[in-house]
């Protein structure tokens, strides 16, 4: 009798309990472990891990290497974000015009995002190789007659290539979101403004920009969080780059935890990134409330 009346609840819990248990084991337990391990100086070999207080965090803020890691991550991440937003918005605006083949272009710009980042990054080795048969070098020689350049050894150029690679991989969804936002703007607004004599620049400034603000915020925050987690090129191609110039937080986490056996530092960095993530989500929430409620 009870089971009949509470049929739905029983079924729901029957379905959801295994799912929640799985998530507890593979999501929440790891999260808690992240925090716990960041207060140890575990080296994977000796058990149990030794408590080390705030030593790792102290080192994160004092050690110039980690300052560089974090600063570099921000530098590269912000560059990716900026390029994606500027170029992405431009392309989205163009795609929003009455032209044919919009689907083709949209698909095209999203294509690099569906590839395997690690494998493509590895192929980039051929592109950026310093030998005369490196793709970039061959191209530059055909175009400008330039001598081959050893891109992979240059701490000034590799960050640029890593940033461009990350942009190539991630601009797709930025364009899609911008396009969706642009298409949500009622064309009647533009019509009304044009009747009042607005030119294209004014349309952009007084109609498009304000109505796109929620989309901009969303893309910026989400994009930044994503860009800060850049790892494909640093892991596969440069291993932190010539003289740590392409070092990122996630790669440093991997290196510390799996290669240097400094689990405490690795997890402390992860916790740091998690804090930034939570901050980002908080900003979104705050903004969401202001603009939608």
């Amino acid at each position: 009798m009870w089971r009949y009346h509470h049929r739905k609840t029983v079924i729901a819990y029957a379905i959801l309990t295994p799912m929640m248990i799985y998530m507890a084991v593979f999501l929440w337990l790891p999260l808690v472990s992240l925090f716990a391990l960041s207060f140890t100086d575990w080296n994977i070999i000796q058990w149990p891990p030794r408590f080390a207080g705030l030593k790792n965090y102290a080192r994160l803020v004092s050690d110039p290497y980690y300052a560089h890691v974090m600063g570099n991550t921000f530098k590269l991440g912000l560059s990716v974000l900026l390029i994606n937003i500027v170029v992405g918005f431009g392309v989205a605006v163009l795609l929003n015009q009455p032209i044919r083949g919009r689907l083709l272009f949209r698909t095209l710009w999203y294509l690099p995002s569906v590839l395997s980042g690690a494998v493509m990054a590895q192929v980039m080795l051929i592109f950026l190789s310093g030998s005369e048969w490196g793709v970039l070098n061959m191209l530059l020689r055909s175009l400008f007659g330039m001598e081959p350049v050893f891109w992979m050894f240059s701490p000034t150029w590799m960050p640029l290539w890593v940033v461009l690679y990350a942009c190539w991989r991630s601009i797709g969804w930025v364009i899609i979101f911008f396009l969706a936002g642009l298409q949500a703007i009622d064309p009647l607004l533009y019509e009304a403004a044009k009747i009042d004599g607005a030119n294209r620049l004014q349309l952009l400034r007084y109609i498009t920009a304000p109505l796109m603000t929620p989309v901009f915020i969303f893309v910026s925050v989400t994009g930044l969080i994503g860009a800060l987690q850049m790892w494909e090129a640093p892991l596969v191609l440069t291993r932190g780059g010539p003289q740590n110039s392409t070092m990122t937080l996630v790669y440093s986490m991997y290196e510390d935890a799996f290669q240097n056996l400094m689990v405490g530092m690795g997890t402390a960095q992860a916790v740091g990134l998690l804090m930034v993530l939570i901050l980002g989500i908080g900003v979104q929430f705050r903004f969401y409330k202001r603009y939608y409620l």
């Binding site: 032209i99 690099p112 996630v250 935890a257």
Partner: protein, 300 residues
């Protein structure tokens, strides 16, 4: 917005050139995979194969077949596993969150959504530890000590990702938009849970399911990091992305050691092989894409 013809032409020119520049690396790789070494070395701006030939692909399988074929097999098994699991779990989960009313539903859903917010990379180390010390797996005792756990085993490849949070979310949104009438009618005729789900709802959800299947396929096909960590030592358990990355690295690096130039055709062929299924599937899926994602809206 009305544009003069000149402006329209300018837009097209800009879009096409920007598009070509953007897609240039991909085009380069695909075209390069059809060239012989000699042809490729004559490249000026982009490889121009005399004709479309598969000789480089054949060589790739001859030289690397021992690694490639098992890797392909591993990936295809993973695909079957995750796609089936993904569809079933997301149907059940989406249905539960949407159509079943039970205490704590909304709260549980929010808790569940935290799964979307945590990037996999961040928890990779703890997850690795959990896999290695999983109780009663791979020689472990009940405390998880002693053996290797899921390391270097099929468990490592199949256990992670069994609950596709995004798919469940997507399906829940879609369930929310469906009418109740059909289900009610079926229940009155005595239909059970699985009948309802599969004979009534699935046909209505075909677009979303296509999206989920394709996304799952692409994600599993390209997955690199966790498999790389967990299956470091067994060549017969390496998925395709990991295997190809290592192969390309070997071919490309060998050149650096003064052994001469790498066989470009091989490297480009492996790159193309890696890219082809995701690209093809994505292009074919475009039709369903908008339909399937309508349930989210720009505010998600």
């Amino acid at each position: 917005m009305k544009w003069s013809t000149l402006a329209k032409v300018a837009i097209y020119v800009f879009l096409i050139s920007a598009g070509l520049i953007f897609i240039y690396p991909l085009l380069y790789i695909v075209l390069g995979s059809f060239t012989t070494q000699a042809e490729y070395l004559r490249t000026r701006y982009i490889p121009m194969p005399g004709r479309i030939r598969l000789s480089e692909y054949r060589t790739l399988f001859e030289l690397g077949g021992g690694e490639l074929v098992p890797a392909l097999r591993v990936t295809l098994i993973r695909e079957a596993w995750f796609i089936t699991l993904g569809v079933v779990v997301s149907l059940l989960g989406g249905y539960a969150f949407s159509r079943l009313r039970f205490p704590g539903r909304d709260f549980l859903f929010m808790v569940f959504l935290t799964g979307l917010m945590v990037p996999g990379m961040l928890i990779s180390l703890p997850v690795y530890m959990i896999m290695v010390h999983f109780p009663l797996a791979g020689g472990n005792n009940i405390l998880g000590m002693g053996g290797e756990g899921f390391l270097n085993s099929w468990g490592a490849l199949l256990v992670l990702g069994m609950i596709p949070v995004f798919s469940v979310f997507l399906l829940k949104q879609n369930f929310d938009m469906l009418p109740f009438e059909y289900e009610e009618a079926a229940v009155m005729d005595g239909a059970g849970l699985f009948t309802i789900l599969f004979r009534i709802y699935v046909p209505m959800l075909k677009p979303v399911l296509v999206v989920i299947i394709v996304q799952t396929f692409i994600g599993t096909w390209n997955e690199y990091f966790m498999p790389m960590l967990l299956v470091a030592r067994r060549a017969d358990l390496t998925p395709l992305a990991v295997a190809l990355q290592r192969m390309i690295a070997r071919y490309a690096m060998a050149a650096g050691q003064g052994v001469g130039m790498p066989r470009f055709g091989l490297i480009f062929a492996s790159g193309t092989l890696m890219c082809a299924p995701p690209i093809l599937l994505y292009v074919l899926m475009q039709r369903y894409f908008v339909q399937g994602l309508v349930g989210i809206g720009i505010r998600a």
